[in-house]
């Protein structure tokens, strides 16, 4: 027993002590802050980086880079319609405890070629695996059509996105990934992960975050509506009444 333990330590210690990886990812973002202003119409994000090597590049191995961008998660209820007494009604539903509001995957080659399925499961990289947290189907025997619908609807809205050629690698050392963030972004921290893979296995990963915030007038209105709801409501009404009165007055002037 004791001997087995020592043997195990002897095997694992060197791996912990030495620089574990022959290659490391270093990366930067074209911007780590996105301000949502009134004229915000989506944003382009460039993620660039290099692979730092401590020894000559291992030849023969197939290298791949995957970059993921994940928006703040929220609970979602998925409802299915079925025909009851001639009309289409919401009947079954499935709750998903936390699904990201935005999720994009960019890779240097098709995922099936550069990503081992086991790594995908442990790191939750591909879109279906990134959604793996259900609040438990209650009245539904098979939840799969519901989660597939969630992916389908969000993909159609441009919120979930897979681009298998968005990462370009130069000289096997430098890489860049381009993301087009849609206009319907919500506020929050967007988790960014960069995976370096060889033969489908994970060599290194790098994590950072992009902060998406409303700024200026947008920020002020949003905060006011949350912190002083009554004042905000009164402001909305005042604008409405004033606009209505002003229009009547202006038209009367034109007429006379």
């Amino acid at each position: 027993m004791m001997r087995a333990l020592i043997l195990l330590l002897a095997l694992t210690l060197p791996a912990l002590a030495l620089p574990a990886r022959a290659e490391e990812v270093v990366a930067g973002l074209s911007q780590d802050n996105i301000g949502i202003t009134a004229s915000f119409n989506g944003s382009e994000i460039l993620i660039y980086g290099a692979i730092k090597r401590f020894e000559p590049e291992p030849d023969s191995n197939r290298m791949g880079i995957i970059v993921t961008l994940e928006g703040p998660a929220g609970a979602v209820t998925i409802r299915r319609k079925s025909r009851e007494m001639g009309i289409w009604v919401n009947t079954d539903s499935v709750g998903v405890a936390a699904a990201p509001s935005y999720y994009a995957v960019a890779s240097s080659a098709p995922l099936s070629e550069i990503l081992d399925p086991n790594v995908d499961v442990s790191q939750r990289i591909s879109i279906p695996l990134a959604m793996r947290s259900f609040a438990g189907p209650i009245e539904v025997s098979d939840a799969r059509p519901f989660t597939e619908a969630l992916l389908r609807i969000r993909e159609k809205e441009g919120l979930y996105h897979l681009d298998e050629s968005a990462v370009t690698i130069l000289e096997n050392t430098l890489f860049r990934a381009d993301f087009d963030l849609p206009a319907n972004l919500i506020e929050g921290d967007y988790k960014t992960r960069i995976f370096l893979l060889r033969d489908g296995q994970l060599v290194d990963q790098y994590r950072t975050a992009i902060y998406v915030r409303k700024v200026g007038l947008e920020r002020w209105l949003y905060t006011l509506s949350r912190d002083h709801a009554a004042v905000y409501g009164a402001l909305s009404l005042a604008i409405a009444v004033f606009a209505g009165w002003a229009a009547a007055a202006v038209f009367r002037l034109i007429r006379n």
């Binding site: 989506g42 319609k81 539903s93 619908a149 509506s225 909305s236 009444v241 209505g244 009367r252």
Partner: protein, 305 residues
């Protein structure tokens, strides 16, 4: 030109919103309806979240009714005491309606309830109005005698009678109060001002002259939708002032054009146009319920309750 809406958290074309506002304002000025029955579904359609669409629609209705009611006051076409009676009923009904709305939202059946309400109420009112207007037009053409102005129905036998001078009526406050309550309930559930129900109810149930109906209905809608806007802003923070502003700017212009246009058209023509519009919307929503939807699934933010 795209604009990002701070509460709805989506980016939409500012011109599209201005155009929507103008269209709805035009109808508001023309028919004395708030236009909510068009604006709310249209906002859903361009991707505004339903709660924001309902609440902001109410705020837009406030602006277009202020504009419309001022134009009607100028023409002395507002029966203020009648408006106040309808308003008291409306506020009671609105409170009841919001309770039902929250219950149905929890059950996930709110869109079904809204669609059914639209189909049933819009459909039957539209057909009724169309039939009645066509009959009136035919009668006018033949030059036959007009229907009696004061019909003595059961409505006139109830207690608590009040003289409504502008309407030329001496009736009990109970029927208008009840009309207000029913309109208030439906308004809260369907996210509309309720003019399309109130206008025919005032003409056919209360026997008010068409001349004062539009102004009085706008008067009531103004206060009920102001109340609804406040409720939404306080309880679920879903009024988007940026969205409202664009709809309003379009809407007030449309409302002014509409009320000028309305003064030129004959009452019967006006009623036929409104009837056709109402039937069209009801028919579209009815088909949506009967035909197989292209996407059976829908997403709702928030956990299952």
């Amino acid at each position: 030109m795209q604009i990002y809406l701070p509460i709805a958290e989506v980016s939409v074309s500012a011109y599209l919103l201005l155009g929507l506002g103008t269209l709805v304002g035009l109808l508001s000025g023309l028919f004395g309806v708030g236009g909510g029955f068009l604006i709310t579904p249209l906002l859903f359609f361009i991707g505004i979240p339903p709660t924001v669409a309902v609440a902001t629609g109410a705020n837009q209705v406030v602006a277009s009714s202020v504009s419309g009611v001022l134009a009607q006051f100028k023409r002395k076409a507002v029966d203020v005491p009648m408006g106040i009676v309808l308003l008291i009923g409306g506020l009671i009904g609105s409170g009841m309606g919001i309770w039902v709305f929250n219950l149905l939202t929890r059950l996930g059946q709110i869109d079904l309830a809204v669609q059914l309400a639209y189909v049933v109420f819009l459909g039957s009112i539209g057909l009724l109005m169309l039939q009645e207007s066509l009959r009136a037009m035919r009668r006018a053409k033949r030059g036959g005698k007009r229907a009696k102005r004061h019909q003595h129905m059961w409505v006139h036998k109830l207690p608590l009678k009040i003289k409504f001078r502008a309407s030329g009526l001496y009736i009990s406050v109970i029927p208008p109060m009840l009309v207000g309550v029913v309109v208030g309930i439906l308004a809260a559930i369907m996210g509309v001002g309720g003019g399309f129900i109130m206008v025919p109810a005032m003409i056919y149930l209360l026997g008010m002259p068409t001349k004062v109906v539009i102004g009085t209905s706008l008067f009531q809608i103004l206060f009920v939708s102001a109340f609804t806007t406040m409720m939404h802003a306080i309880t679920n923070q879903s009024v988007d002032v940026m969205l409202a502003l664009l709809l309003i700017v379009g809407g007030v212009i449309g409302a002014q054009i509409g009320s000028r246009l309305g003064a030129r058209l004959k009452a019967e023509q006006l009623r036929i146009l409104l009837a056709l519009l109402v039937i069209l919307v009801a028919g579209k929503l009815g088909l949506d319920l009967l035909l197989r939807p292209s996407e059976l699934f829908s997403l709702f933010p928030g956990a299952l309750k």
